[in-house]
């Protein structure tokens, strides 16, 4: 074990890559703090003491979804109590509020709605952009893009270019879950395959859109599945350099339909974030998504290789429907305080990681 840590340490120092076998050995190691030290070393090389955050707002335009992923507590059918679809005016109102509150980014994702036409999405993006030309719209996962391609019977490349023309600025990294088929068959059988997810993201990157990448962990997957997931992302990033941040999402078990799932312990969460930082040497940013991790673990993660805390979020729904105990929004002051008390330097960024203000 000491050899393993020694080998990886010199690899990080010289910029060599760690292998899948070494990564698996890290996942199987019990030495949380040694893993954390390696991740901190890898992060310091890339980001120094800076920790990024942005002022953003989430909007989930609908919770109606034709898929029924077992890990999801957010989706509803059209007949279900509590289902909703926001009208364009409601969306614009929320965006205007966010804009007035100093947001630089709107993050939009939703369910796969059976009736909304593709024009709805194009109009939504165009209207947001025309009302608020300074705002960056980061919207739609690969899962939604595939769905738009299917409902319009056109190639996903065309969907991407139309959305881009309407004003789409970048894409989040959702829907990746665990890319391996065996796991997807169990947790999200109706969702696009891992291969299709990667293909669409690659197309988006080729069209000049930056994206993030997520991994939903702590449900039915094993360590090999996580390493496989990381490898595919690292390979794609080698080809496109289109990924900005990797975001490991700790599975929230409440109201979901995965039998026996317990949720993610603090140790596994920190280990997974740290190993991601060590393995994904071609990703600039590892994001600790505080909504899913909890504020305390998200802050502690800053010592385990994490260099981005997402943002103010405002009105988070998806994690909270699954029992996330965090607040739905954070104030900028709270984020600054968390970062400073972790001994780091807070930097407000825009979606594309241009630095707006150092504190």
């Amino acid at each position: 074990m000491i050899d393993l840590f020694h080998t990886i340490r010199s690899k990080i120092k010289t910029g060599a890559r760690i292998s899948d076998e070494e990564t698996l050995a890290l996942f199987e190691s019990r030495d949380l703090l040694a893993i954390g030290e390696l991740a901190a070393l890898a992060n310091r090389k890339i980001n120094g003491e800076k920790v990024y955050f942005n002022v953003n707002r989430h909007i989930n335009y609908t919770n109606i979804c034709v898929n029924r992923c077992t890990f999801c507590a957010f989706s509803k059918g059209v007949e279900d109590e509590g289902c909703y679809t926001l009208a364009l005016n409601d969306i614009l109102e929320k965006v205007a509020e966010a804009n007035a509150a100093g947001a630089t980014e709107i993050h939009i994702v939703g369910g796969l709605h059976p009736d909304l036409p593709f024009d709805f999405y194009l109009e939504m993006i165009a209207a947001i952009r025309s009302d608020n030309p300074g705002l960056h719209v980061k919207a739609f996962t690969a899962v939604e893009l595939d769905y738009f391609a299917r409902i319009t019977n056109q190639d996903v490349a065309l969907v991407i270019s139309e959305l881009k023309e309407a004003g789409l600025g970048s894409m989040p990294g959702g829907g990746a879950e665990i890319l391996r088929r065996e796991v997807r068959d169990k947790i999200c059988p109706e969702k696009i395959s891992g291969e299709r997810w990667l293909e669409i993201i690659e197309q988006a990157h080729r069209a000049g859109l930056k994206t993030n990448a997520t991994m939903l962990f702590g449900h039915l997957e094993n360590y090999e599945d996580r390493v496989d997931h990381l490898r595919r992302l690292r390979d794609l990033q080698d080809r496109t350099s289109g990924f900005q941040a990797f975001i490991p999402l700790a599975f929230q078990p409440d109201n979901t339909r995965i039998p026996g799932a317990k949720g993610v312990g603090g140790v596994d969460a920190l280990k997974t974030l740290a190993i991601s930082r060590i393995y994904l040497d071609n990703f600039m940013h590892i994001k600790g998504y505080w909504v899913m991790l909890g504020l305390k673990i998200a802050q502690v993660a800053l010592a385990f290789g994490v260099n981005d805390l997402d943002g103010t979020v405002v009105e988070e729904k998806i994690g909270h429907d699954a029992g996330a105990a965090t607040p739905q929004a954070l104030g900028k002051e709270e984020i600054l305080d968390m970062i400073r008390k972790a001994g780091k330097v807070p930097v407000e960024r825009d979606t594309l990681y241009n630095e707006l203000k150092s504190y």
């Binding site: 019990r30 954390g36 969460a269 305390k296 802050q299 010592a303 305080d337 001994g343």
Partner: protein, 354 residues
């Protein structure tokens, strides 16, 4: 500095105050954590993480102390002020016994009328009815209050309580053992020397006690360091502390207000406790104030014990912090982190491994 401190922790030579302050204010979290983890593994080589099945019974919420950090106390005329009747307490302890509990943590406010006879009669009956449950009750502030109210000296009061069945004393009410801080957050509560005097007397009478620290309110880093060294110095002379339990101020509903300590601050203080208190065997993680995820991480930052299962907890909950864990969840938490969960009693004898 970090290198020389590391050398000292490896050679088990005690740290100095300035070294502790350096760790708290200047060293990075993982460096402090790694040293604490090494010390914890050396002191507890069997890889166990222990817990005790216990229950808090808060016999009254009426309290003359009215500390500014507390959301639990009431004045006597408040509509929700209460004193639990003996029968209610027996019923609660019966529930504890039904859950194979072994520790009763009975604490309450400084009530203007409850004299020593009230506690003696209660403890005698509890001993008779529940011999398997250790009465681990009353903090130093309560002991002194009961003594004053009953016209007794503190040692007389402790001896009578012990004779009636009090076996050990929890370390609550220590807050921060620096009087400048106490004047600000709990001006009516006993000073640090009185807290220490009760503990020393209890130890002299053969009772084991724990020690706590509530941080994250108004203290400075120097005060945290002073607190730890005062505990270490008492322990050097008595050896009576079984465990140290740092936990964080919870601001909800309190007069003091403000925010709670962050996760990084908690872990650093926890790790520092392990390093400074090399003469106290056990360091408890506070899942009640930190939640299950942080408590699990704490096991790598110096903690070797998860405290009680707390079938009932009211004081922290009154401040808006209500983490709950079942025994099964506590066992899972320790095992998932690679430790052997073990049930203990108040004396830290191992009762069962899982």
């Amino acid at each position: 500095m970090l290198k020389s401190i590391h050398g000292k922790t490896e050679k088990t030579s005690p740290l100095e105050r300035d070294e502790a302050l350096y760790l708290l204010t200047d060293a990075d979290l993982l460096s402090v954590g790694k040293m604490a983890d090494a010390v914890r593994r050396r002191m507890h080589p069997h890889n166990r993480v222990t817990f005790v099945i216990d229950r808090n019974v808060n016999y009254t919420n009426i309290c003359q102390s009215r500390c500014k950090f507390c959301a639990f106390y009431r004045t006597e005329d408040a509509s929700d002020a209460y004193v639990l009747p003996y029968e209610t307490i027996y019923r609660k302890v019966q529930e504890l016994a039904d859950h194979v509990g072994t520790q009763l943590l009975m604490q309450g406010g400084l009530h203007p009328d409850l004299k020593i006879e009230w506690f003696e009669a209660l403890f005698r009956e509890l001993r008779a009815r529940f011999p398997q449950v250790q009465i681990h009750s009353l903090s130093p502030a309560e002991v002194i209050h009961i003594a004053d109210l009953s016209g007794l000296t503190m040692p007389e009061c402790l001896r009578r309580l012990q004779a009636a069945g009090l076996e050990s004393v929890p370390g609550g009410g220590a807050e921060v053992l620096v009087d400048e801080v106490r004047k600000e957050i709990s001006p009516n509560k006993i000073g640090w020397r009185q807290w220490a005097a009760v503990m020393e007397e209890a130890h002299a009478l053969g009772m084991r006690t724990t020690a706590t620290m509530m941080f994250g309110s108004r203290e400075r880093p120097e005060d945290i360091v002073e607190h730890l060294f005062r505990i270490r110095e008492i322990q050097e002379s008595t050896g009576g502390f079984t465990a140290f339990i740092p936990w964080t101020y919870q601001p909800g509903g309190t007069e003091l207000g403000g925010a709670t300590a962050t996760g990084v601050e908690y872990l650093k203080v926890l790790a520092l406790s392990r390093l400074v208190l090399d003469n106290v065997e056990n360091i408890q993680a506070s899942w009640v104030t930190q939640g299950a995820e942080m408590a699990q991480v704490s096991l790598f930052f110096g903690a070797n014990d998860l405290g009680g299962t707390m079938l009932e907890e009211n004081v922290v909950a009154a401040a808006g912090c209500s983490f709950r864990l079942t025994i099964g969840e506590i066992i899972h938490l320790a095992r998932e982190a690679g430790f052997t969960p073990a049930k203990r009693n108040t004396r830290y004898d191992i009762l069962e491994e899982y």
